[in-house]
């Protein structure tokens, strides 16, 4: 009974259209014109359904009550009434066509990704997203930053539990941004409710989508296609900025990328590589090989005290650069740059008791990748 009252309250409140609270149970209005259109369509169709429901059930319950047996009502036993039949066929057709026209117009607009000012390639990977600003030489992966201790319950959950990342996708407002979406492994789906974008990313295919964001802000979403054990741990975070702020950010990232590219040629110190490698290991490798390199055999081999790894640098590099085809070990040749690969390999070779003392220079890795 209590819950029935709750629902009644929900329905009356949504009828009064209070926007601020509406989002608690309704879909969001979002921050793009398309998302507002979709919300409008949803509400229009919802109210059409409400009216139909009221008319149909109203007529039914009225008739049940008014012409009840105890009042001596007699059933009319006629068969066939062509004009009424035509009427109740024609009315739904008109309603359906009436709903299809605005819906089709919105769909058409949603698929029109022409004239974009910025192209971003979005690649799903088990279990992170990779963003590449095409033609700008800026690319990075975006990993969930919620600590595992919160997942296991050892620590209390933060405000954005499972919906926070180390590096969000940064986008400008008021500019049309086209997304080219694909996947490196299995099907994922990139979903941000406030942007009204929910698009499957499929290996071997490139799907297109687009947004023009109207308001700066941080918008959160998740992978919404079951993609393996860490499916719940690959959130999407979009940081929408004012245009000039975005231009500044992009220029900064471009510079950093150029600097990093130069970093390939110089000699790196072991401490530098180890520090860098530890970050990369924790954000990318530890989901499979575990925080202390202990792995979880037989699915994910241990990297700590791994005899072959300790004795054979080339074998180790090859595994990380080229992956293991047919197994879950991804190839990192295109998703990590030479500095990052050198760093994570150097770290692995010197952590958890693998005290080999080996230092792998980014230049060696660059050479291997070029081959």
């Amino acid at each position: 009974m209590r819950s029935a009252w709750r629902w009644l309250l929900v329905i009356t409140l949504s009828a009064s259209g209070s926007q601020a609270n509406a989002n608690d149970w309704n879909m969001p209005v979002g921050v793009t014109d398309v998302s507002a259109d979709i919300f409008g369509l949803h509400m229009t169709i919802f109210w059409i359904c409400v009216v139909i429901g009221l008319v149909v059930f109203g007529a039914m319950f009225y008739s049940l009550f008014r012409y009840r047996h105890s009042k001596g009502a007699k059933a009319a036993n006629f068969h066939e009434h062509t004009s009424v039949e035509v009427l109740w066929t024609a009315i739904p057709v008109l309603i359906l066509v009436g709903m299809a026209v605005p819906a089709t117009a919105t769909l058409k607009n949603m698929y029109d990704s022409s004239d974009a000012e910025l192209d971003v390639m979005i690649t799903g990977q088990q279990w992170r997203w990779r963003y590449e600003y095409l033609g700008e030489d800026v690319a990075f992966t975006s990993n969930m930053s919620t600590p595992r201790t919160q997942v296991s319950g050892a620590e209390t959950r933060g405000e954005h539990y499972l919906l926070e990342v180390d590096e969000p996708l940064v986008l400008p407002i008021n500019r049309k941004v086209r997304f080219l979406m694909t996947s490196d492994d299995v099907i994922h789906s990139w979903w941000v409710p406030d942007l009204a974008v929910k698009q499957d990313t499929i290996p071997g295919f490139i799907n297109e989508n687009w947004v023009t964001i109207n308001e700066p802000g941080i918008y959160r979403g998740q992978c919404t296609e079951l993609c393996g054990i860490n499916h719940g741990f690959m959130p999407v975070v979009v940081h929408a900025m004012e245009e000039d702020e975005f231009d500044g950010w992009l220029a900064e990232r471009k510079e950093a990328a150029a600097e990093e590219a130069m970093g390939v040629d110089r000699e790196w110190a072991m401490e530098e590589l180890v520090a860098r490698g530890q970050e990369i290991y924790q954000s990318i490798c530890s989901s499979c090989h575990q925080a202390e390199g202990q792995g979880s055999p037989p699915a994910f081999p241990a990297l700590a005290n791994n005899e072959q790894l300790i004795s054979d640098v080339d074998w180790h590099l090859n595994k990380v650069i080229n992956g293991v085809s047919g197994a879950a070990m991804p190839a990192f040749r295109s998703t990590l740059n030479p500095v990052e690969i050198a760093a994570v390999v150097t770290y692995t070779r010197n952590a958890w008791g693998n005290d080999t003392g080996d230092v792998v220079q980014p230049s060696e890795v660059a050479e291997l990748i070029a081959q």
């Binding site: 068969h79 066939e80 062509t82 039949e85 035509v86 066929t89 089709t104 058409k108």
Partner: protein, 57 residues
């Protein structure tokens, strides 16, 4: 011929008078109704395609 077309159109809409149904079942060959049905369905699909093409302009 015209009466067959009318019956097929009525069937598409899902509404037919009892009297007409009796007539249809007492005269005419089933093949005529089947062929007319297929042709009209194809025409209907064609019409949708044309409509969609124009709408997509």
């Amino acid at each position: 011929m015209w009466s067959v077309v009318k019956s097929v159109l009525a069937a598409l809409l899902g509404v037919q008078s009892n009297q007409k149904r009796q007539e249809d079942f007492s005269s005419g060959k089933p093949a005529a109704y089947i062929v007319t049905g297929i042709v009209i369905t194809l025409l209907f699909v064609l019409m949708l395609i044309v409509l969609a093409t124009f709408a997509a302009r």
